[in-house]
Amino acid sequence: MIILMDENLSSPALATNLNTHAKQYGCVFHLLPQHAMGFDDDDLPEVCRREGAVALLTNNKEDFGVEVALYRALIKAGVSAIVLRLPNPQVEKPDLAFLTSRVVKHLRKIVRELENANESLSLTVRKDRVKVDSVQELLRQRLM
């Protein structure tokens, strides 16, 4: 199972760290290829297809327009999103160790959810749990 790292999180050091643990859960993290940098939202399906990715690792979005654009692209691509909630920097620093441990801690559940998914899911990774939502439903709620 391939998980593509969106450009915000396409750090080679983070990919290396995650892949040290990912194999035991049957997944691998791919950096966004150089040629795909700055791809349009509408190109997400093609980028994921080329990489063979079933999910996109990204961070939480605070901007309404970004959320809507991302949800729309995910549905079109038929892929899920693993949304890493970034911490309050006053409390915790989002450094390499933090980003790695936050994902690895929940990787078993993430992989299980992705294996059983029959639609695009949003897997929001928080400190103690992973919140699972239908992307279609999230989009509907945003547009109400």
Binding site: D63, G65, D95
Partner: protein, 227 residues
Amino acid sequence: MDRSRKELLAAGEGVYTVPQIARILQPKMTVYKVRYWLHKGLLGEPIRWGSRGRRHLLSFEQLLKVRTIQRLRDSGLPLQRITPAIRKLSSYIFEHLFDEQWYGLEFYHSNRGAVAVGDSRGMVIEVETGQRILPGTLSGLTDYMRKTREDWERRETDIAGFSRLVSNARILGGSPTIRGTRVETSFVAYMVESLGADDVLELYPRLDREAVEQAARFEERAQPLAA
């Protein structure tokens, strides 16, 4: 699904809130001005009208309309003239600007401050008096319209004072990003604030210092508007 939602879902048109447009068009633009022009009908129908707890949603085309109205106001014409002139001009300009076929617009300026506008086919529309007034071309405005048309076609606008940042309607709904990437300025600023620029550059070797610093500066300046 109603019409507004279909439009919202249309690819590549961008989805902007009023504060975000003010942020991208800083430093001259304010939330108040965008709202005022929206409610005056100068921007056309938004993608979605806001209400309590829901924000107005505007398109990339409307972002360019806001920028164009500001440019008309900046053109040196007396404000009491430009306000009614904008009303009369905007429908003509916007109809041309965002049409499938582009005929470059040219602007004229009389001694007493009247405005006339024509397109490259030689048709001239005279505003206010209806008379033909062609003493001098407002070349700055003409060049601006050409640039705006280019921005419209590529669905991307520069951010004044930040050469490495853009808003591209086709990338993350138009959220400001580092040019040529999908890396959001808000994300970079958050990481810089948390870790410092050196650590961010180590974590993201594809980014360069100038771009990272511009993103952080842009968000710092924009924060009061976004709040």
